[in-house]
């Protein structure tokens, strides 16, 4: 096991109960981002084992969930609800890493949220999901202004897309269109609240969304893939004046300004400010109002993480839960 030491009085050390492998972990796995001596993993839920002298909001023994971005939750940007742009932000992936038994968490008071008590084992996958995949899908739906009376289209049936479906449902959307061509993911999308499934992609996908929305396009579209095709599909599926929330990491995407200009839509996205939503999401999970944990379709002990990466890379798994 890697040694974990506190560096600052605002740090906490947590013993992980669960962590996972995220689609974005495949960027360094595939060599798109550097991977040498990188501390992998950024979703985490566990028990506080040690706190620095300045930590006030969590104590030893608390079960906590944190965002994949460290934030102080007190600076002006945090207070405006954009904690992933915090003045003290650090991405957990790469520098801290949570695919390990313990993890040091800087700015513990700002980053970690304690659950109302010790969770039963069945809640662990859902609480872990809140750390990124649920929080990110939720942000996509919020950025797309999903809500009552709205038709929401979700581009992408990976874990984040499925969580955006769940979020759109919770936010009261009238109609939720999941764009998916995988039967088992369509089923999960329907479980989470999808009212319609569209299998077409690209221009045909856009045409289908327009056909379902009186020729206008969806009020709200969530882009949860991050490829060129999915991005153009998402822009095209949004009605004039509509809202596009994009949360897929999009290294290879190029947008022509004039395409965005003549689309005439709102666009918001980026690394999700999960911390904004964490208290609400934890409560929804605690009250068993939502069951996001079902997105994990493969569970492995940490020692078999390598097999988990391979399963994700080969698309044999949507999302891998790692246990201890």
């Amino acid at each position: 096991m890697r040694g974990v030491v506190m560096y600052k009085a605002t740090d906490a050390v947590i013993r992980l109960t669960a962590t996972c492998i995220c689609g974005s972990d495949l960027w360094p796995y595939r060599g798109v981002e550097p991977a040498d001596h990188t501390n992998m993993g950024h979703e985490y839920a566990g028990v506080v084992e040690e706190v620095g002298s300045d930590v006030k909001n969590v104590k030893v023994g608390d079960f906590v969930v944190g965002s994949f971005v460290i934030s102080d939750n007190t600076c002006e940007t945090c207070r405006s609800g954009y904690q992933s742009g915090c003045a003290h932000r650090e991405f957990v992936a790469g520098t801290i890493g949570t695919q390990s038994e313990k993890a040091r968490t800087p700015h513990a008071d700002g980053t970690l949220v304690a659950t109302p008590g010790q969770p039963t084992p069945d809640l662990i996958p859902s609480l872990l999901a809140a750390s990124d995949v649920l929080g990110t899908g939720w942000y996509g739906a919020v950025a797309a202004e999903a809500g009552p009376g709205k038709t929401v289209a979700v581009v992408g049936d990976g874990a984040v897309g499925l969580m955006a479906v769940l979020a759109a449902k919770q936010l009261g959307a009238e109609r939720i269109i999941a764009m998916s061509r995988h039967p088992e993911r369509q089923e999960l999308a329907r479980f989470y609240g999808a009212t319609d499934i569209v299998e077409e992609r690209g221009d045909a996908g856009v045409a289908k969304i327009k056909e379902l929305t009186d020729g206008l396009g969806a009020h709200s579209v969530v882009e949860a893939v991050g490829t060129q095709e999915s991005t153009m599909q998402a822009i095209g599926a949004t009605r004039p004046g509509g809202h596009l929330g994009f949360v897929g990491v999009n290294y290879d995407v190029t947008i022509q300004g004039i395409d965005l200009f003549f689309a005439g839509i709102h666009v918001e996205g980026g690394p999700a400010p999960v911390r904004r939503f964490l208290p609400h999401l934890i409560q929804l999970i605690w009250d068993r109002e939502i069951d996001p944990g079902r997105v994990f379709d493969l569970t492995l002990p940490l020692e078999q993480a390598a097999e988990g990466y391979q399963a994700m890379d080969e698309r044999r798994a949507t999302r891998v839960l790692l246990t201890f």
Copy 2:
């Protein structure tokens, strides 16, 4: 004079009192857009001379202002405030053209707004401005969510940028930073409400905006140029979670998805839904609360339009008013 005939019962014919040459008219002038047999001009104010049998909201003799986009103002998109995405939209530029003595206006009931009475001559330039340049700058400021307590940065000191400054002031912005290096435009920007001037451009411009905003960037940024440099400057000058309104026609701009992703901002733009704002803008002008007409710095009779184009092309004029 070109013959003008009504085609439909929803048309009106107006006799132009004033029209103008817009920066976007330079796209066809320079050959970027086709110009052969194109009806040029899209800003207009004048007197209704004839109405079709279905026209109810304006009558012969009314002084009217219309948007540069024809809209029915009744379809779902119009009702949501995005009239430039109207189901019946037509761009006045190219198909109708208002650099002429008369113009046919389709969907007159939706497109035209009558003034409270016959305007005095000193109000004509301002009423004409409402048709596009003011309406577009205003939309840029609204899209950027300019308002009380906000710091607004305006990229571009052309007529639209200056109108965005005016709009930010009217919308109650606390601080308005005009990015300009031309002394006479800086002066006009200050007249319209700019509290600060930044002469730097590109990365240096972004650094200066951050320096003025505790390292965060502006809450609201209006992009009113449409070049690659101005677009990146605008994205960079917006704080995380902030709002960027873009109204510069941006044919040559390419945005890397990942730059937008890590900016973590809201983006909204496109052809301005001027019709949404027209009644309010006309009233502000009528009450002499605002004086947008000062952006016209060259007035020529219609017959000398060619000289007006040349003056715009050579940047000897910001905006040319054409009279009859």
